[in-house]
Symmetry: C2
């Protein structure tokens, strides 16, 4: 998949960049107020607008009802669709790039949610790609747009640009130093938010954080992207400094090696334990302590999630079975 295989900008700290545009068709009520038939009309209209003779072979058009619940949850684990989109399939469809760098949800909260995921820090590229789909859509369909407000969306938090951009950051050194809380409140004042991307919210599993913009009204798309990019670069610089300090500590280096040893040896690994251990090993790999491609570790973080393992196995495994499958896959990946 493109999202972890391509050479990346700031790949030592940035796992991926995500840009999402929310758009609605002028001539239809928001999806919540649409019956299945109308939703399908929207799906077809958007599909015909976005899939052309040139790009059709690179995409799959997937009515969500054709997926099993486990397949849908796996797509959510990979951030290709929202958890809400996975939970109800009626009249919903997904346009998914074969290399999974573009996913377009049809009849999620809005009629169209164009999403681009790129590896590393690539906000402008990802935005440009999303914008190209947006332009293609506007050429074929009347979009709900207000001169004063901008793009109209079901939820007012998306009103205006309809743009949500985020950067997935690996911040083990900042998290270790306990500076995330302070960083988080500083960032809130700048109209952005940073939060643990994995886990149940009580802690940031694997020290992986998502930085995203919050303001969509009264700001241009370009300004929003530039703003987010500037803050991301500042956090990256802070993490680099914190890593340099942390890696002078032999005890911490030893923790990295032990994490590597456990990943290579354990016969059972829960998803959260694996994520925490991969986080340490990824830091070691990024800093030249361990000779492991970051892509391998990025891939494990995505593919070793529960539903994604179930999909790969073609059945609903128990958690205990998955822990064994996960441990073996991790061992093989690091061999």
């Amino acid at each position: 998949m493109k999202r972890y295989e391509t050479p990346t900008s700031n790949g030592d700290i940035v796992l991926s960049t995500r840009v999402r545009l929310a758009r609605n068709l002028k001539d239809y009520p928001f999806p919540a107020r649409l019956g299945v038939e109308d939703r399908e009309a929207v799906n077809n209209l958007v599909k015909d607008a976005l899939l052309t003779d040139e790009n059709r072979d690179s995409f799959d058009y997937i009515p969500m009802q054709t997926l099993t619940p486990v397949q849908a949850v796996s797509l959510a684990e990979k951030h290709l669709i929202s958890p809400e989109f996975a939970s109800d399939s009626a009249g919903r469809a997904l346009i998914l790039a074969k290399d999974e760098d573009v996913s377009i949800m049809l009849n999620e909260e809005d009629h169209v949610r164009i999403q681009v995921i790129y590896p590393g820090l690539a906000l402008e590229d990802a935005y440009a790609r999303a914008e190209a789909f947006d332009k293609a859509l506007e050429q074929k369909a009347a979009i709900a747009f207000d001169e004063r407000l901008g793009y109209l969306t079901q939820c007012p938090t998306n009103l205006g640009t309809g743009l949500r951009a985020s950067v997935m950051l690996h911040l083990p050194a900042l998290a270790q130093g306990g500076t995330m809380r302070r960083l988080s409140s500083t960032i809130a004042k700048l109209g952005l938010t940073i939060r643990g991307a994995l886990g149940d919210g009580t802690r940031a599993v694997g020290d992986i954080f998502q930085l995203s913009n919050q303001v969509t009204l009264g700001i241009s798309e370009t300004a929003a992207i530039q703003n987010l990019n500037a803050i991301a670069l500042q956090i990256i610089a802070q993490e680099k400094n914190a890593r340099a300090a942390l890696l002078k500590d032999d005890v911490f280096i030893d923790r990295i090696w032990r994490a590597y040893g456990i990943l290579k040896s354990a016969h059972m690994l829960s998803c959260s334990e694996m994520t925490d251990l991969v986080s340490l090993v990824r830091l070691g790999a990024a800093e030249g302590i361990l000779d492991i491609p970051l892509e391998t570790l990025n891939r494990l973080l995505v593919e070793m999630q529960p539903a994604t393992i179930n999909v790969a196995e073609g059945r609903r495994c128990t958690a205990a079975e998955r822990d064994v499958i996960r441990a073996k896959a991790v061992k093989d990946a690091l061999a």
Copy 2:
């Protein structure tokens, strides 16, 4: 060294067997009441009695004053001498087999302490070897012996046979099951004692226990050896049963693999952590889960002790330096 390299009886559970005979010369007061000159007379008398033209090349005669304190402590770590013997060198000497399976302390608490260490369970062989030295001594020197009491020793707890025999047992499954306390009190009733062989007494580091006889009066050497052997075999059988049950638990198997992973990866290992991890790995190796020679692990347990590392390095390392040296040696041994 013979003590861990030879094929052994019950080597999966028994690390080593030790037999020690305490003897005193009739014509000299006990060492505590001897000046350095008389002690040296005793040393020379015993050396001439025990070292012959046939065996002289296999032994070193070591006046303890020629050793550095670290070298002496290393010998104590290997159980070749007592800690007390290491602590004061005046007028003391050691006859040490080059392969370290025989060590004879001169002017410890008694004039002569003949000790044989063999790998695995080998009480009768070890006793026979010690007895041969005892016979050689008796042919050349008058031994303090009382018709009614038996061999006379400084401490009344050794009076009679002067025999102390012990078996070093690796009992991870019994220790895991929490049955050691009950086992210990049963064994006390049989005139034996079992206690953690490593650590500060608060817990048995590495689940390694020493089973030894306590009674020296009113029992023959042969009976004492047979008695100890019978109890050792019973404990071995119990440990085997407990292992069979324990190894049905996948979570425990996973602990073994993780211990192996940490030993192969850590860059710092304290002695007690290493011992605990080697204990788990040794169980895995003994039960066919890991393909590692038990000798390798037995050797690590002996040679990775602090003073023994200092001797190998030829200097007094700090604990932190030793932890790094130990981790590297363990990694190399398991590579």
